[in-house]
C-alpha cells in the first residue's frame, strides 16, 4: 500500500521526519518497505499568452506565434498544433527547459524562422495523454506563472506492507488513525456531503440474499460534467502510482485510497430498466469488463444486474457496457459491503485482483459504506459540478449482528506479555487506538474481567481478548515485560537415536570421501519411467501436484535415484574428479505404502508413506575390481559391512536380481537381522542411466533407515586374548561354481572358535591352473584365549580345514 505523506497530512498532523515516521510505523506493525520522493516539476516551463498567430511562410501546417511570457519581452515561437490561436493561455517551455523524458529545449531554426521555445501539449508535460494539441489553460493564469505552481507536486511516498488481518490499513485514513495513536494527535476526517431529502432517483435495488451482500447503497447524481480532474487530485493519484482518467473515475479511486471503501459509478443512461439486482449470475456468460478484456462469469458469481443483465462482477470490476465516458451526465453511484469469500472466489477463479476485490475479500468496513458514498458525493459536487439527488437507497441486512463487546482481563494481559500493567495503563493504550473502553472491576486477578471494550467497525480483526492484548503489546512495546514463566531452565536433552544415526552418517561418509547432497522432492514422469518399475511396486504410484506454478507436470519422488543421477551428471559434466562419491538422506513419498494407523485425524489415510532413505553412490568409476565385479561396487559392498558396524546392527547382503533399474548379476539385497529386505546395492543398468541422461557407471547403495531398528544394544566389554596370533596362508584351487562364501563358511566351520581373522588377499585366474578353476590366496590368523598356539595345533587345524574343503567343495590346495 502506497501512502502519500501530503495526503496523510490532510487527515492527521504529526511532527517528525519521514524517516522517523517510517521507523515508528514499522515498530507499530506497518512495515515500511520503501520510502521514496515523488516530484512533478518542469523547470523553465511557464504560462505565456499568445498575442498573435501568423502562418509560417515556408510551411502550411506550422504557425508563427508571438507570445508574452510575463517578463515584458515577447518571443517568436513556431508551433505545429492545430488549436493554437491568439488570446490563448498556454504553457511555454523556454530555452533551457527540460521536459519529462529528458527533452531539452533549445533555440531552433525551423524552416528558416527562429523559434525560442516550445508551446507544450499535455502529453509533452506528462500531465495527460493528449498529444493532439497544446494545453489550453482555463481561468487565464497570469503570464510568467511557473508551471510548477499550477500543476507541480512534491511528495514523499511510503510503501507499507499490510498483513491480511488489517484491511483498515489499506487506506490513508486507516494509516492516519495509527499516526494519531502514535503521536497523540487528532484525526481530521475529510469533508462529506449528506444529501438533503428531495428529488427522485427513480431506481430500486433488490438484494437477492443479504448473506451475499449485507449492504448496498445507491446514490444518484445529475448534470455531471466529465472532464479532467484538478491538478491536486491528479497528483495525489500519481504519487501513489495511479493514472488519472477523468474526474468521475478519479473521484471513486481517490475515495478508495483515502477511505478504503471501493465505489463504482455507472452511467445511469446506459442502464436498462429501473431495478438494480444484486444476485448470483445463475449461468455462464462471457462479458467485457472495464479493462476491455472478455471474461467468463459463472453461475455462482455474485453480480450487479440491471434490467438487461450483468453490469458488474460484484466487488471485482464493472462491465464496459455501463462505464462512465466523456458524454456521461447522470450517475448511479454504488457503495456496498459484499461477502468476502464470494468476492475472493470470483477474483481467484479469474486471476483478476483489483484494488476493489483486494479490499472486499479482506472485509469492508460497515460504517464506511455510507461515509465513503457521502465523501464521493461531496467531491462530485465540488469537482464535477454534479447535482446530488436527495433520494438514496440503503439496503442493509436487518438481521445483521453487531459484534459483541470484548471482555479484557488485565491479569491475562500481564500473564501473556510478562508485564505489570495497571487497569488505567491498559485502558489508556486502548483509548489511544480509538476504542471505547468501559472499566468494570479494578481487582486484577485470574478470572476477573476488568474492561469491556467496544470494537469499532473498522477493526474487524479484533475478535478475541487476545487480539486486544496484541494491540497493547504493539503500542506499549514488546520489550517492556520483565516476567518470564519463572520455572528454571528445562532439563537438558540429548539427541534421539534416529538423529544420532544421521549425525554418525554425516560425519563418517564425508570422512570416506562422500559428499552429501540435498535433492529435490519433485520428479518428472520420464524420470520415474526410466526406473522401469513393475506395476505392483510401491514406487510406481506417485502423487501429483494439481497446481504447479510453471504448468509442467510435477510429481513427488518415489525414489532417490533420479535425484542422485542429476547431481552426478551435473558434477561429471563440470569436470569433477572421477569417481564422484555422493550420499543423501531423504524422504520419498509412496501413496500406495503403509498407512499410519491409530492417528487422530480421520483423513490420515489420505497421506502417503514417507520412508526415510539413505543412499550412497559412486558415479564415473572405471576401476576393474576383481572376480568380475567393478571396483566401485566392491567399495560399496565393503562400505555396507562397515555401515552395519557403525549403526550397531547386523546387515547381510544376498546376491539377488530384484531391482529393475540395477544390472542383472551385479546387485544384492540388503537384509536386516530378521531377514527382511531393507535395502539394495548394485550397478545402475546402462539403459536406465541412458534414460536418465547420464553416460557413466553408477553404483548405488540404498537403505531404508526408517525400517531399521538402530537402537544400539548396550555395549558390554569382553575380555580379549593377549596371546600372539598364529598366521597361515592357504593357496586354494577353487572350481568354478563354488563361491567364496561357501569356502569361508567351510573354513569357519572347520576351525570353530579360534579363528581371529580370515582375509582373501589374492585371486589368481591366469594361466597355469587346471581348467575351470581359480586360485584364492587366503590368510588365516588363529588365536586362543588360553595361551600361545603351538605349531602342532595350528597344523592340525589346517589339515582339518583342507580335509573339509576337499570333501565338501572339492577345493584343494594348489601344488
Amino acid at each position: 500500500m502506497k501512502i502519500s505523506l501530503q495526503w496523510l497530512r490532510e487527515l492527521v498532523a504529526w511532527e517528525d521526519s519521514p524517516a522517523d515516521l517510517a521507523a515508528r510505523l514499522t515498530a507499530a506493525g506497518l512495515n515500511v518497505e520503501g520510502l521514496s520522493e515523488f516530484a512533478l516539476t518542469w523547470p523553465g516551463v511557464k504560462v505565456a499568452r499568445v498575442l498573435e498567430c501568423n502562418r509560417h511562410p515556408n510551411a502550411d501546417k506550422l504557425t508563427l506565434c508571438k507570445v508574452d511570457d510575463g517578463s515584458g519581452k515577447t518571443y517568436q515561437i513556431v508551433c505545429g498544433a492545430p488549436n493554437v490561436r491568439a488570446g490563448l493561455h498556454v504553457l511555454l517551455a523556454t530555452v533551457g527547459a527540460e521536459l519529462p523524458g529528458g527533452v531539452r529545449i533549445e533555440a531552433a531554426n525551423i524552416r528558416g524562422i527562429e523559434s525560442r521555445g516550445m508551446i507544450c501539449s499535455g502529453a509533452e508535460l506528462g500531465l495527460s495523454d493528449d498529444e493532439a494539441g497544446i494545453m489550453e489553460l482555463a481561468d487565464a493564469p497570469a503570464a510568467g506563472t511557473p508551471a510548477d505552481e499550477l500543476f507541480g507536486c512534491r511528495d514523499t511516498v511510503l510503501d507499507i506492507e499490510v498483513t491480511p488481518n488489517r484491511p483498515d490499513w489499506l487506506s490513508h485514513l486507516g494509516v492516519a488513525r495509527e499516526v494519531a495513536a502514535l503521536y497523540g494527535t487528532k484525526l481530521q476526517p475529510p469533508r462529506v456531503l449528506k444529501p438533503t431529502p428531495g428529488g427522485t432517483l427513480g431506481w430500486k435495488v433488490e438484494v437477492e440474499d443479504f448473506h451475499d451482500c449485507p449492504r448496498y447503497i445507491a446514490h444518484g447524481a445529475d448534470n455531471v460534467a466529465v472532464g479532467p480532474s484538478p491538478a491536486w487530485l491528479q497528483n495525489r493519484l500519481r504519487a501513489i502510482g495511479q493514472r488519472p482518467i477523468n474526474n468521475v473515475v478519479d473521484i471513486t479511486n481517490f475515495v478508495l485510497f483515502e477511505l478504503g471503501q471501493p465505489l463504482h459509478a455507472f452511467d445511469r443512461d446506459l442502464l436498462g430498466g429501473d431495478v438494480i439486482t444484486v444476485r448470483r449470475a445463475g449461468r455462464k456468460q462471457t462479458v467485457t469488463m472495464l479493462d476491455d478484456v472478455s471474461r467468463q462469469i459463472v453461475a455462482d458469481d455474485l453480480i450487479i444486474a440491471d434490467g438487461d443483465g450483468p453490469v458488474a462482477l460484484a466487488g471485482v470490476m464493472g462491465l464496459a457496457s455501463s462505464q462512465v465516458t466523456a458524454g456521461t451526465t447522470r450517475l448511479l453511484l454504488e457503495s456496498a459491503f459484499f461477502c468476502p469469500s464470494l468476492i475472493r472466489q470470483s477474483s481467484r477463479r479469474l486471476g483478476l485482483v483489483s484494488e476493489s476485490s483486494y479490499r472486499f475479500e479482506r472485509e469492508a468496513d460497515w460504517s464506511m459504506v455510507r461515509f465513503a458514498a457521502h465523501r464521493a458525493l461531496y467531491l462530485l459536487q465540488e469537482l464535477a459540478g454534479a447535482t446530488i439527488i436527495g433520494d438514496a437507497i440503503d439496503r442493509a441486512d436487518p438481521d445483521r449482528q453487531v459484534p459483541p463487546d470484548l471482555a479484557l482481563r488485565v491479569h491475562q494481559v500481564n500473564r501473556i506479555l510478562g508485564t505489570d500493567l495497571s487497569l488505567e495503563q491498559t485502558a489508556d493504550v486502548l483509548r489511544a487506538l480509538g476504542l471505547k473502553v468501559q472499566p468494570l472491576s479494578s481487582q486484577i486477578e485470574a478470572k476477573t474481567v476488568n474492561l469491556m471494550v467496544q470494537v469499532p467497525t473498522f477493526r474487524r480483526d479484533l475478535k478475541l481478548e487476545v487480539d486486544l492484548i496484541e494491540e497493547i503489546a504493539r503500542l506499549h512495546g514488546y520489550d517492556r515485560g520483565t516476567r518470564g514463566c519463572g520455572s528454571p531452565a528445562l532439563t537438558c536433552r540429548r539427541r534421539q537415536r534416529r538423529d544420532e544415526v544421521n549425525r554418525l552418517l554425516r560425519i563418517w561418509l564425508p570422512a570416506l570421501g562422500y559428499h552429501e547432497i540435498v535433492s529435490s522432492s519433485f520428479s518428472g514422469r520420464h524420470q520415474l519411467a526410466a526406473l522401469q518399475l513393475t506395476a505392483g511396486d510401491l514406487r510406481s504410484e506417485c502423487l501429483q501436484v494439481l497446481n504447479p506454478h510453471h504448468g509442467r507436470e510435477t510429481l513427488l519422488r518415489t525414489s532417490l535415484v533420479p535425484g542422485f543421477v542429476d547431481a552426478a551428471r551435473r558434477n561429471l559434466h563440470a569436470g569433477a574428479q572421477r569417481p564422484v562419491r555422493l550420499f543423501q538422506l531423504g524422504r520419498v513419498f509412496w501413496p500406495a505404502g503403509r498407512k499410519t494407523a491409530g492417528t487422530r485425524h480421520a483423513q490420515e489415510h489420505l497421506l502417503p508413506e514417507e520412508p526415510r532413505l539413505l543412499q550412497i553412490g559412486i558415479a564415473g568409476g572405471e576401476g576393474a575390481g576383481y572376480g568380475g565385479i567393478p571396483l566401485e561396487l566392491l567399495e560399496l559392498k565393503g562400505l555396507a559391512t562397515e555401515l552395519a558396524a557403525l549403526l550397531g546392527i547386523p546387515l547381510s547382503l544376498r546376491p539377488a536380481g530384484r531391482e529393475p533399474f540395477l544390472a542383472d548379476g551385479l546387485q544384492w539385497e540388503i537384509l536386516d537381522s530378521s531377514g527382511e529386505i531393507c535395502g539394495s546395492l548394485g550397478r545402475l543398468k546402462p539403459e536406465t542411466a541412458a534414460a536418465l541422461d547420464v553416460d557413466a557407471n553408477i553404483a548405488l547403495l540404498e537403505l531404508r533407515l526408517d525400517r531399521l531398528d538402530c537402537t544400539r544394544p548396550a555395549i558390554h566389554y569382553e575380555q580379549f586374548s593377549r596371546f600372539p596370533a598364529a598366521k597361515r596362508d592357504l593357496s586354494l584351487l577353487v572350481p568354478s561354481g563354488v563361491t567364496f562364501q561357501q569356502v569361508e563358511e567351510t573354513i569357519r566351520g572347520a576351525v570353530g572358535n579360534g579363528l581371529a581373522h580370515l582375509e582373501l588377499f589374492d585371486i589368481y585366474t591366469g594361466t597355469g591352473l587346471p581348467a575351470g578353476t581359480c586360485a584364492y590366496g587366503i590368510r588365516l590368523k588363529f588365536r586362543s584365549q588360553h595361551g600361545s598356539l603351538t605349531g602342532t595345533i595350528v597344523d592340525e587345524t589346517i589339515q582339518r580345514i583342507l580335509r573339509d574343503l576337499a570333501s565338501a567343495l572339492q577345493v584343494y590346495p594348489r601344488a
Binding site: A28, G29, N31, P164, N165, P340, R344, Q345, R415, I416, L417, G418, L464, V466, I469, A473, Y478, D479, G481, T482, G484, C485, A489, L490, C492, R493, R495, D499, N502, I507, P510, A511, L512, G513, Y514, H515, E516, I517, V518, S520, S521, F522, L543, L546, N547, P548, H549, L556, D566, R570, N571, A574, A576, V580, R587, F589, H601, Q603, L606, E610
Partner: protein, 340 residues
C-alpha cells in the same frame, strides 16, 4: 641347469649385499634382472630345454627373481637408512593424498547446529509428514477458510484435502494433540511454496519450528529464548528487535530482526540499508490453536517461532543465491569441508 641357478643365486645375493651406493645397487640390478641381465638370459634359455624340464626350471627361476627383488629392496632401504643424514630430499614434493575428504551439506549442517543449540536449552525434537492434511497445515492453525491469510503461502495442492506443507507449524499441532504441557520442542524439516525460484526463493526449502507451552509462558520467555539462540548461532551480543506482524496461529505475532552482522546497524546492501535483518517469525500461541488440539481454555500459554534454515545458512556463510543449495555442485559443497 640347477647348478647354474644355484651359482647365480649365491653370486647375485653377494653382489647385492656388497653394493655400497644406490648407483652401485642399480648397476647390480641391471646386471641381474635387466634386459641383458644374467637371470633374464637364463629365462630366455628356457625355450631350448626339453619341454618336460621347463616347468620346474621356470618355477625355480621365477622364485629366484622374487628373491633377488626382495634382496634389492632390502638393500635399498638399508642404504637409505645410512644415507638419511646426507641425502638431499625435495621436501616440497606433494604428499600422497589420503581419501579425499567429502562434505556434509551446509543445509542439514545448519539444521543440526540449530537443533544442538535447542537441545542445550532443554528442547526435544520431532518431525512430521511433508505431505500434510489441509487441516493441520491451515485449519487447526487458525487460518480462516477461504481467507486471504491463506495467500501468504502459495500452496502446492495434491488433492482436495492434502497438500505439501507450506510450513513446519503443523507439527506443533500434531505434537500438542499427542502430549500435554509442559512442552519444549523443535520441529525441523522441508517445506514447500508454489512460487517461481529466484536468488532468494526456492519452491522447496527448510524450516525449523520451535514450540514451548506451559502454565505461564510469556512474551518475555520468547524474547530471552530468541536472544539466547541468536547469541549462540551468530555469536556475540547481537541486538534483536520485535516488530508486530500477523500469523494466524500466534497472537501477538512478531517478526524478529537482528542487527545486521555486516554493517553493525549502519545500513548496507545486505540489510537493504535498514541496519536490520529479518531472521524469524514468532509469537504467543493463539488460543484457537490450543482449542483445536483440545487443551482446556486458559490453562496454558506458550510461544512458537519459525525460521528459514536456508536463510540462516545464507546469512552465516554469505551465500547470495538459495538455488546453490539444491544444485549439489561439488565446487560449492567442497567449501564446507570440515563443517558438521
Amino acid at each position: 641347469m640347477h647348478e647354474a641357478i644355484a651359482r647365480l643365486r649365491a653370486e647375485g645375493l653377494a653382489r647385492i649385499d656388497q653394493a655400497a651406493t644406490n648407483e652401485a645397487l642399480e648397476a647390480v640390478r641391471l646386471a641381474l634382472l635387466g634386459r641383458k641381465g644374467e637371470l633374464t638370459r637364463l629365462l630366455r634359455g628356457l625355450v631350448d630345454l626339453e619341454p618336460a624340464q621347463r616347468p620346474a626350471v621356470g618355477a625355480a627361476l621365477n622364485e629366484l627373481k622374487l628373491e633377488f627383488g626382495a634382496a634389492l629392496g632390502r638393500r635399498q632401504s638399508e642404504l637409505a637408512e645410512h644415507h638419511t643424514a646426507a641425502a638431499v630430499c625435495d621436501l616440497t614434493l606433494p604428499g600422497l593424498p589420503p581419501v579425499v575428504l567429502g562434505t556434509a551439506h551446509p543445509l542439514p549442517s545448519v539444521l543440526e547446529e540449530i537443533c544442538d543449540i535447542f537441545y542445550g536449552m532443554g528442547y526435544d525434537r520431532d518431525e512430521g509428514p511433508e505431505v500434510e492434511l489441509e487441516y493441520y497445515n491451515f485449519t487447526a492453525l487458525n487460518f480462516p477458510p477461504d481467507h486471504p491469510a491463506r495467500d501468504l503461502q502459495d500452496t502446492f495442492f495434491l488433492g482436495t484435502d492434502i497438500l505439501l506443507r507450506t510450513q513446519t507449524s503443523p507439527v506443533q499441532v500434531r505434537t500438542m494433540e499427542r502430549r500435554s504441557p509442559p512442552l519444549a520442542y523443535v520441529f525441523p524439516g522441508r517445506v514447500y511454496r508454489n512460487e517461481n525460484a529466484d536468488a532468494s526463493h526456492s519452491s522447496e526449502f527448510f524450516q525449523i519450528e520451535g514450540l514451548r507451552v506451559d502454565r505461564d509462558i510469556s512474551l518475555v520467555d520468547l524474547r530471552e529464548t530468541v536472544a539466547a539462540f541468536v547469541g549462540s548461532f551468530f555469536g556475540g551480543e547481537r541486538p534483536t528487535r520485535f516488530r508486530p506482524h500477523y500469523f494466524p496461529f500466534t497472537e501477538p505475532s512478531v517478526e524478529v530482526d537482528m542487527q545486521c552482522m555486516k554493517c553493525g546497524g549502519r545500513g548496507c546492501g545486505i540489510c537493504g540499508q535498514s541496519g536490520w535483518l529479518e531472521i524469524m517469525g514468532a509469537g504467543m500461541v493463539h488460543p484457537n490453536v490450543f482449542k483445536a488440539v483440545g487443551y482446556p481454555d486458559d490453562a496454558y500459554t506458550g510461544f512458537a517461532f519459525g525460521m528459514g534454515i536456508d536463510r540462516l545458512a545464507m546469512l552465516k556463510y554469505g551465500i547470495d543465491d538459495i538455488r546453490l543449495f539444491y544444485e549439489n555442485d561439488l565446487r560449492f559443497l567442497r567449501q564446507f569441508r570440515g563443517v558438521l
